[in-house]
C-alpha cells in the first residue's frame, strides 16, 4: 500500500520544555480516513502541525508524499483546518472562499466554480452572502471546513473538525469525510471522541506524546479483545503503565 505520510523518530519539544511528541514513528496509507485519537494534550495537534509543515522539525523526519513536510510543492495538495476557526469573521462566506481560492492559485473562473462546489459539499449554499460572524458555531465550523476543501487536495488534515457540533451535523460531516475519502483523498482527522474513531479506516491512538497503537478499528478490537475503541484505548493504556 502506498504511503501518504511517513514519520520517523519524531520528537517535538514545545516552548523549550514541554515534550509534546516522543520518538514517534508511523506510516499512514494513501486514500484512507485516518483518525488521530487521544485525550486533550496527548500530542494530536502537534503531530498534525508537523505533518502540515507548520512546525520546524529538529528531531526526526516527516515526509508527505515523499517530500519533506512543509515543502512548497506540497502547498497545493495538502490542506489544513485547525482548531481555531481561521476564517475572516468580518467577511461573507463567499468573500472568504473567493480569497482563499485565489491564494491557492486558482483563476477567476476556477474560483467561481470552486465556491459553488465547496458550498454544496458543506451544505451552506443558502448562507453564501452572510457575514461569518452572524453564523452559528456549527455553520462557522463548516465554513472553515469549506476552506480546506478548496483546490485539489490529496491530503486533508483536519484538527478536531467536529468538536462542539450537534450529533446530526457531526454525522453529516462524517458522511462527507467518507465521500471525500472515496474520491482518493487521504483524510487525517483528529478527535478526542472515541465514538468517532469507529468511522475511520485506520486509527492512530496517541497518549502522552506516544503512539500507543496503529491499526484498523476492527484489528484493534480483535488485538485487545474489547468491544469498543474506548475500552481498547483503556486496555492499551493499562498495559503500558
Amino acid at each position: 500500500m502506498d504511503t501518504a505520510v511517513r514519520i520517523e523518530k519524531l520528537s517535538v519539544t514545545l516552548g523549550g520544555n514541554v515534550k509534546a511528541l516522543k520518538n514517534v514513528s508511523v506510516d499512514l496509507p494513501v486514500g484512507k480516513t485516518i483518525g488521530f485519537i487521544g485525550p486533550s494534550g496527548a500530542g494530536k495537534t502537534t503531530l498534525i502541525k508537523s505533518i502540515v509543515g507548520m512546525l520546524k522539525i529538529s528531531s526526526g523526519t516527516v515526509e508527505v508524499f515523499g517530500r519533506m513536510a512543509g515543502s512548497s510543492e506540497l502547498r497545493n495538495i495538502v490542506t489544513y483546518m485547525g482548531q481555531e476557526l481561521s476564517v475572516y469573521t468580518d467577511l461573507t462566506v463567499r468573500e472568504n472562499l473567493e480569497y482563499f481560492a485565489t491564494m491557492s492559485g486558482q483563476t477567476r473562473r476556477e474560483v467561481k466554480a470552486t465556491v459553488k462546489n465547496v458550498l454544496d459539499q458543506v451544505d451552506m449554499t443558502d448562507k453564501v452572502d452572510a457575514l461569518v460572524e452572524d453564523l452559528s458555531g456549527g455553520q462557522k465550523q463548516r465554513v472553515s471546513l469549506a476552506l480546506a476543501l478548496i483546490g485539489s487536495p490529496k491530503l486533508m488534515v483536519l484538527d478536531e473538525p467536529t468538536v462542539g457540533l450537534d450529533p446530526v451535523l457531526r454525522d453529516r460531516l462524517w458522511t462527507l469525510f467518507d465521500k471525500l475519502s472515496g474520491t482518493g483523498i487521504t483524510m487525517i482527522i483528529s478527535s478526542h471522541s472515541m465514538d468517532e474513531a469507529e468511522r475511520c479506516d485506520d486509527l492512530v491512538l496517541i497518549r502522552d506524546g506516544h503512539i500507543i497503537a496503529h491499526d484498523s478499528p476492527k484489528g484493534l478490537l480483535e488485538k485487545t479483545n474489547t468491544r469498543n475503541v474506548e475500552r481498547a484505548f483503556l486496555k492499551l493504556v493499562g498495559e503500558r503503565e
Binding site: V12, T13, L14, T46, K49, S50, V52, G53, M54, L55, K56, I57, S58, G70, S72, R75, N76, V78, T79, Y80, G82, E84, L85, S86, V87, Y88, T89, D90, L91, E95, Y99, F100, T102, M103, S104, G105, L131, L147
Partner: protein, 246 residues
C-alpha cells in the same frame, strides 16, 4: 511574489474595512477633528497655528495608521488566518504588500480629507501648495502603516500592540523638531533623531511651509521616509514565519 495574490489581499483587507463602517468613519474623520480642535486652541494665535499645522498633518495620520495596521495584522496572526494562509502557496511578500497597498489607499484618503479640511475650511495657507502638503501627509501616513505592520510582529496581544505606539512613536515625536528645534537638543538626542524616520517626515512638512518651490531638501526628506517605509515592509515580511519552532 504574485501581483494577483497581492491585489486580492488588498481587496480582502478593504472589504473587511468596508464591513466595519465605524472604523472607517473614525479613520477618516478623527485627524480632521483634532486639527479643528487645535485651530480653536490657537484661536487668537492664527500665525502659530498656521506654522504648526502642516507638521501635524504628517503626525496625526501617521499615528492613526500605525495603530490600525498594527492591530489589524496582529488580529490576523492571533486568529489563525495567517497560519492557514502560510499553508497555501501564497508568499509572505504577497501578504505584507497586500496589506500595505490597502492601507496606503486608506492613508491617501485620510490624508487628503485632512489636508482639504485644513487648507480650505480652516483657511490655512501653506507656501508649498496643496499638492506638496498632500504628498507629505500621505508619505507620512504610509510610514505609519509600514511601521505598524512591522511592529505587530513583536506584539503578542492587543494590549502590547497599543503600547507600541508610545514606545515606538512618542520618542520620535519628542525629538523630531516639533516641540523644539533639533539643533537645540542635547547631542545624544540629535543623533537619535537623525536615525528616526519621523524626523524626516516632519522636516518634509516644514519644507512645505518654508518654500513655495519644491526644494532638494524636500525631495531628500521624502526619499528617506520612503526608504524607511520600504525597509519596515521588508522587515515585516521577514518576521512572518511559515513554521513555528518544534
Amino acid at each position: 511574489m504574485s501581483v494577483i495574490k497581492t491585489l486580492a489581499t488588498s481587496k480582502r483587507v478593504i472589504k473587511q474595512l468596508y464591513h466595519d463602517p465605524r472604523t472607517l468613519v473614525l479613520l477618516f474623520v478623527v485627524p480632521s477633528i483634532l486639527i479643528v480642535i487645535l485651530r480653536y486652541v490657537f484661536e487668537s494665535q492664527k500665525v502659530v497655528f498656521d506654522s504648526l499645522v502642516p507638521m501635524l498633518l504628517g503626525v496625526f495620520p501617521m499615528t492613526m495608521m500605525f495603530l490600525i495596521t498594527s492591530i489589524a495584522t496582529l488580529r490576523e496572526r492571533r486568529s489563525g488566518t495567517l497560519a492557514r494562509l502560510m499553508t497555501t502557496p501564497m508568499s509572505k511578500l504577497d501578504f505584507i504588500m497586500g496589506y500595505a497597498l490597502a492601507f496606503f489607499l486608506v492613508a491617501f484618503i485620510q490624508s487628503s480629507i485632512t489636508v482639504f479640511i485644513t487648507l480650505s475650511l480652516l483657511d490655512v495657507t501653506v507656501l508649498g501648495g496643496t499638492f506638496a502638503t498632500v504628498v507629505g501627509a500621505v508619505t507620512s501616513a504610509m510610514l505609519g502603516t509600514s511601521l505598524g505592520l512591522c511592529a505587530s510582529a513583536f506584539a503578542t496581544s492587543e494590549f502590547q500592540a497599543v503600547q507600541f505606539m508610545p514606545a515606538v512613536l512618542f520618542p520620535q515625536l519628542l525629538v523630531c523638531g516639533l516641540f523644539a528645534p533639533r539643533d537645540q537638543m542635547s547631542q545624544l538626542l540629535q543623533w537619535f533623531s537623525d536615525l528616526m524616520p519621523l524626523t524626516y517626515s516632519v522636516d518634509a512638512m516644514k519644507q512645505v511651509t518654508m518654500s513655495a518651490n519644491w526644494t532638494g531638501d524636500h525631495t531628500k526628506d521624502l526619499i528617506i521616509v520612503l526608504g524607511f517605509t520600504l525597509a519596515a515592509l521588508i522587515l515585516g515580511s521577514l518576521t512572518i514565519r511559515r513554521q513555528e519552532k518544534g
